[in-house]
Amino acid sequence: MHDSQAISGLLQLIFFIALLGLGFGIGRYQEKRHYKSIRKREKSLSALPAIAAKVVDPYSFANTAETHLVMGNVVISVDYFKRFVAGLRNLVGGRVRSYETLIDRARREAVLRMKEEARRLGANLVFNVKFETSSISKGRKQTIGSVEVLAYGTAFVPKKPGR
């Protein structure tokens, strides 16, 4: 009886360590790949600025033909390893790095998707960008499972020359 309990306890421990390893390995690889793609796309979209300003002088945009509401959203989840590390961090307090990168990736990705939509419409500027963040699923003990970030703004499409 004692032996079988010890074995099941050991199995649970092995399973837990395997999940941690899986989360650490794949999560790290995915994060690196995601950051690489974010940096590349940010570079290619740098000619299309997104501005958080609200006040518009209507006459300074006489060149604008039309405006569109554009938005980009992303739901992103943290891996098992990082969730575990963040749980440990909760005991001592301080910066939770593993969640910082998660939110950072989500925000930048959402802005990129918004800009990509603006580029498809032929815009040269996205004005009054707003963010909306919500955690859509809670894990055990109300830890953050995954977050949704939405970025939206008004895209300004310039008039075509010669008209």
């Binding site: 999940l19 899986l22 989360g23 794949i26 999560g27 995915q30 994060e31 995601h34 609200k54 518009v56 209507p58 945009f61 006489a62 604008t64 039309e66 405006t67 569109h68 509401l69 938005m71 959203n73 992303v74 739901v75 992103i76 989840s77 943290v78 891996d79 098992y80 990082k82 998660l102 990705e109 004005f127 009054n128 707003k130 909306e132 919500s134 955690s135 859509i136 699923s137 894990g139 499972g145 995954s146 949704e148 939405l150 939206y152 703004g153 008004t154 300004f156």
Partner: protein, 105 residues
């Protein structure tokens, strides 16, 4: 229907304000998608099923807002805000609201 989250439509003059319009949509998670999402929770990364789900329901909310605005005779909605709230375990409400206005053509 012109949509903008600014207080004006650039290059157009607002002739009449018609008041607040809103549209909302409540979505629950799909069981199949939920299972995939819980697997994805182990390794992290984007949950593309949820991204699409929320995008669809947000578009639904915006189209309801547009329907309400056109019922009042507006041709533009300005100062649009989008908001999300989770109202129950596994269900989210997506709300879009703005001011319906008539602008010069």
């Amino acid at each position: 229907m012109l949509l903008s989250n600014l207080e004006i439509i650039p290059g157009r003059r607002i002739t009449k304000h018609l008041g607040l319009v809103q549209g909302s949509s409540v979505r629950a998670k799909h069981v199949g998608r939920d299972m995939m999402a819980s697997l994805k929770n182990l390794v992290g990364g984007e949950l593309s099923g949820y991204t699409e789900l929320l995008q669809e329901s947000r578009e639904e909310a915006i189209s309801r807002m547009i329907a309400q605005a056109s019922a009042t005779g507006a041709n533009a909605v300005i100062n649009i805000r989008l908001s999300t709230s989770s109202i129950a375990q596994g269900a989210a409400e997506l709300l879009a609201y703005g001011t319906a206005v008539i602008v010069e053509e």
